[in-house]
Symmetry: C2
Subunit: 309 residues, 2 copies
């Protein structure tokens, strides 16, 4: 993609910034991709210095790939979907950032994902990866539900599934519930047989650690394990509840995004399944759609963030 970009052309940069990495895409005004970049976390909860540096690093990579330089930062019209900016404090910190861009339009990573999935049209997204949450954007309304972190939120997410599995296995090994195939699968995956060793191993486990266990629940369920099937029914109920809430805005379509989508899809309610479509574009391209929408004054003076309905 090393190419010459005409000097006068307006450039767009889309940022999908999460808790572990920051992905950017550089395009022209017609969304033709000119460059891409990838850097560390851009979530302000990890610190503004880290977040802004990740954004600048990834942006510079994208400029370089397009045959451009630092001097071209000032040409970039940037849409940024960032985890954490749904928190007003962090949103305000980012608004105060003396960035080098021509313009910076901020929203949540989830909102950008929704713009990408539906190319800026009305629709909804439900994320079911390590965490879980959902957003519907219909007409001028934006509704975001779920999320809130693990273990107190993110019900039905990968982390949630992993925690249910570990809880169930420990209870089963203690004779407090029936035997389950999940015990053998967990012992295989961790290499630990002993109840105490398993409990200690997960003593300070992160959401990511738990999410790694989620596939085992589905593996056991496929072999007719009843306790695993019960966990999936409960997890799907959480995702169905998110979908039902989003559907109060009557989105024409819903995209499921994240590692657990394919596994969960068959367990969702028929009314939800009927609305499912594949995401059309990536969150970072969605962030560019978002920036263009802001420029088109659709959202002018009213940058929507989580809970802004």
């Amino acid at each position: 993609m090393n190419q010459t970009v005409p000097g006068g052309q307006r450039l767009y940069l889309g940022i999908d910034g999460g808790g572990s990495k920051c992905r950017v895409v550089l395009t022209d005004a017609n969304l033709k991709i000119l460059g891409e970049g990838l850097a560390g976390p851009a979530n302000p909860l990890r610190g503004m210095d880290v977040a802004t540096q990740s954004i600048l690093n990834a942006s510079y990579q994208a400029l370089e790939m397009a045959g451009l330089s630092c001097d071209d930062f000032s040409r970039l019209h940037v849409g940024a979907g960032l985890a954490g900016v749904n928190v007003p404090y962090y949103y305000q910190l980012f608004q105060k950032w003396q960035h080098p861009f021509a313009a910076l339009y901020l929203t949540s990573d989830l909102h950008a994902a929704c713009f990408g999935a539906h190319q800026g049209q009305d629709g909804a997204v439900i994320i079911c990866g390590t965490g879980s949450c959902g957003l519907a954007a219909v007409a001028e309304q934006v509704l975001e539900v779920g999320g809130h972190g693990f273990p107190h939120g993110d019900n039905g997410s990968g982390a949630w599934f992993g925690l249910q599995l570990l809880q169930t296995v420990l209870r089963s090994k203690d004779g407090l519930t029936a035997a389950t195939l999940m015990t053998e699968l967990l012992q295989q995956q961790t290499g630990l047989q002993d109840t105490l060793a398993l409990a200690l191993h997960f003593m300070s486990a992160s959401a990511t650690d738990y999410a790694r266990l989620a596939p085992l629940v589905f593996q056991a369920a496929e072999q007719q394990d009843e306790l695993a099937q019960q966990i999936i029914v409960a997890g799907a109920a959480h995702i169905n509840a998110i979908a039902a809430r989003l559907m109060t805005l009557k989105p024409p379509a819903i995209s499921l995004i994240g590692g657990l989508c394919d596994k969960l899809r068959p367990y969702l309610a028929p009314a939800v399944q009927a609305l499912l479509v594949d995401a059309s574009q990536t969150p970072e391209l969605g962030a560019i759609w978002y920036a263009k929408s802001c420029e088109n004054a659709k959202f002018s003076g009213d940058i929507k963030v989580k809970g802004s309905v």
Copy 2:
């Protein structure tokens, strides 16, 4: 209690060592209390230096209260019920400790609590405080279930109740479940109204933080809040499962210990309630009963710890 202790008399020290504090009691051979002491955590998971120093500090306090001195450490026959020594690694570390006592008999804090509750006789205990677990000691058999830490274990505990409350309130505020009185109670207790503020407030909450919320569930249930009642039914089912497992050893009595006992008691199964008796003595006195049992060779050469059935 500042008194003269005859030089030749055998002295006993009982230790109840947990994750936040270490409580000791000094007695003569007839369990007459001569002194007491209180110090920091004696859980080896916090580090052996901290644990052993806490034990020595609390022991010295008890000696001083009895008009004795450091020279009398070597007269002490010590029973220690310590959180964490159910983990073989920590048990071994403690066995290697060059302690100043005449003898040191180690077991889990839960086992010592059972000895205290039933004065060394057969019986069972169920702890339902910040954490939850149970132990039955019948004839030569010891069975310990539950525990394992939060959030992956300790089902039905104070921390578990608090987490269920926060999950339910966040889901309710997101419109994913019905309205609940628990929302208002949580907002009052934390002084936080906003969903995001609540979620952030508990982002790195400890088991102790969550356990502080547990009383709100019972408060809401008393006012006929359905979601709160559902949480209590689920929590009581966990404690009933622990009781049912312990009852396979046919303990003649069960003592419920911990902050949630009184609230949970009415929700337990009739067969469990029929066995409930108040704890007769404290865990630290139980640790002395344990030491005496070891000396009587009842457990000689076979110090029972968690999972030793």
